[in-house]
Symmetry: C2
Subunit: 303 residues, 2 copies
Amino acid sequence: MIDLTLLGCGGGMPTPNRYLSSLLINYKGRKILIDCGEGTQVSMKIANTGFKAIDIICITHIHGDHIIGLPGLLGTIGNSGRTEPVIIIGPHGIKEAVEGLMTIAKYLPYEVRVIESPKEDLNFIDEDIKISTLELDHSSPCIGYSFYFSRSPKFDVEKALENNVPKYLWNKLQKSNEEIIENGITYSRSLVMGEDRKGIKLSFITDTRPIETISKFIDNSDLLVSEGTYGDDLDEKKAIKNKHMTFREAATLAKSASVKTMVLTHFGTAMAEPKDFLDNATEVFENTIIGEDRMTFELKFED
Amino acid sequence: MIDLTLLGCGGGMPTPNRYLSSLLINYKGRKILIDCGEGTQVSMKIANTGFKAIDIICITHIHGDHIIGLPGLLGTIGNSGRTEPVIIIGPHGIKEAVEGLMTIAKYLPYEVRVIESPKEDLNFIDEDIKISTLELDHSSPCIGYSFYFSRSPKFDVEKALENNVPKYLWNKLQKSNEEIIENGITYSRSLVMGEDRKGIKLSFITDTRPIETISKFIDNSDLLVSEGTYGDDLDEKKAIKNKHMTFREAATLAKSASVKTMVLTHFGTAMAEPKDFLDNATEVFENTIIGEDRMTFELKFED
C-alpha cells in the first residue's frame, strides 16, 4: 500500500489559505517528496508526516513556488536526526540551484546527492520503486515524474512441483534471482514463481502545456496528480501564454492516457474556489478530484 | 508617526501556529523589513501590508529562520511592479548568502544592492532615518539594528522677527540648509527655526547573548523589540549554550538601557504559550509586551 499526502495545492506564490503544490509519498516507511515551495515543511508539520524518513526529494523545476522550501526542509531533516544521504532529483540547473540555496544550509549531518536531469529510469533506495522522468513544456526546464511500484509474483507450489524443483531449494529460489545448479540441473526463480502481478503507477505532472508525449508517459496511471492552474475554460489563452493547463486540458490528458483517477493541484492564486470549475474537468474525465491541502490517498495493490 | 507590524514571533523553524520573527516598519509610506524567514511574505499577505514599497530589508544573521523567505519575497516584490532598487543590509557573509539564494530568483525587474556589515551609520532613502548596527554575540555573525527617526524643528516666528530676517526669506530659509546673502547680510536656517525636537528610536535585537555593548546601543529606545527565546529562568543554561536570551535577561537589558517599552519575540518552538512566562520579564522591567503575530504598534513623535 502506498500512502499519499497532498501537502499543498497552490501555484505561483504562497498564500494564507493554501500551501504550495507538493506531494509526499510514503511506501513501506520510506518517503519521497515531490516539490518543496515556501512553507512545505509547515504543511508537513500540520500533517504530522515526520521529516527523518525523507529519502528522495523530486523537484519539477526551479521556480520559487516549487523549490524555495528546500533549504529550510533540509535543515529540519538534519534536526530530526537523519544521517543517511538525501537524494535530490531535478531538471537541468538543479545542481546550481541546490548549491546556491545551500549557501545558507551548509552544515548538514547527512550527505545531499543531486541527480540532474536523469536520462534513464532510476531504481534505487528500494528495488521495487522505479522513477521515470519526462521533459515537460514550461517557461524553464521542467520534468514530470512517474513512479512504478512493482509487486513480486507469488510463490506457485503447483508450478514448482510440475517443474520437479526439489523442496529444499524452494525458499532459496524465491528469495534470490541467482540460478542454482544441483546434480547438473539448473534451477531458476521462474520455475517456482507465478505470473507477474500488477504494480501501482503514480504520475505527477506540473508545470506544463499538455504536450503529446505526456499521454504515453502517464499511460494507465492509477493516480495522476496534475496541475490545473486555471479552472475557467476562458483562461486558456493565459494557460498558453504562461505555459500551464486549464482543468479541461488536464482532463483531456487524463482521458487520453486512460488513467484511473486524476487529482488537480497547483491552482492559480486568482482562483479562490477551484471546485467551482470542477465540471470543466468532469465533462471530459469523470474521475477528477479537486485537490485540497493535506488530502490523503491510499493506493492499494490489486487482489 | 511610525507604524510597526510584528509579522511573526517564532524562532528556530516555521511552525503552523507562529510565523518566524520579523518586523515591518512603515514610515511615510516607505517600508523597512527586518528579517525574513520562511513564510514572512505570507504573514505580510495576511496583514495586507503590500510589497511594492519595501525599500530596505535588514537581515540580522544568516540562519534559515531569518533569511530563507528572502528569494520568495524578492520575487513577489518584483511581481508587485517595483522597479526601484531594494537595499539589503546584513552581517558578514550576507553578499554570498544573497547571491546563493538568488540562484533561483535571478531575473528581478529591479536592482538588489547589498550592504555587508556596515561600519558607519546609514542615512539614506529618507534623510530623516538613521540606521545603526551593532555586532551581537551569536553562533554566527549577527547584527542588531537601531533606527532613529529624526524630526525637523518648527519654524519660530518670534525668533525670525528678533533676528530681523526679512519676511520674504522665511519660506526659503525654512526649506533649505543653504545660507542666503542679502544686502551684505548672511541669513541662515538657524535664525528662523526653533529648538531641535526629539525623534523616535526603535531597536531590534536578535539573536544574541546579553552582552554589555547592547545597553548603550539601545539606550533610551522608545521601543525595543528583543528576542526572548526562552521564557523559563531555568532555561538560562540552554540560552547560554545556544547564544540566546531568557525573558529575564532581555528585561535586564531593557531596564539598564532605560527603554520605554519592550516587545519580546523569537520564541523557541518548545514554548507553546510565552505569556506563561511574562512575570519573569515584568519582575525586572514592567513595560514588557509578549509579541504576537501581526501585532501592530504606533510610535508617535512627542508634543
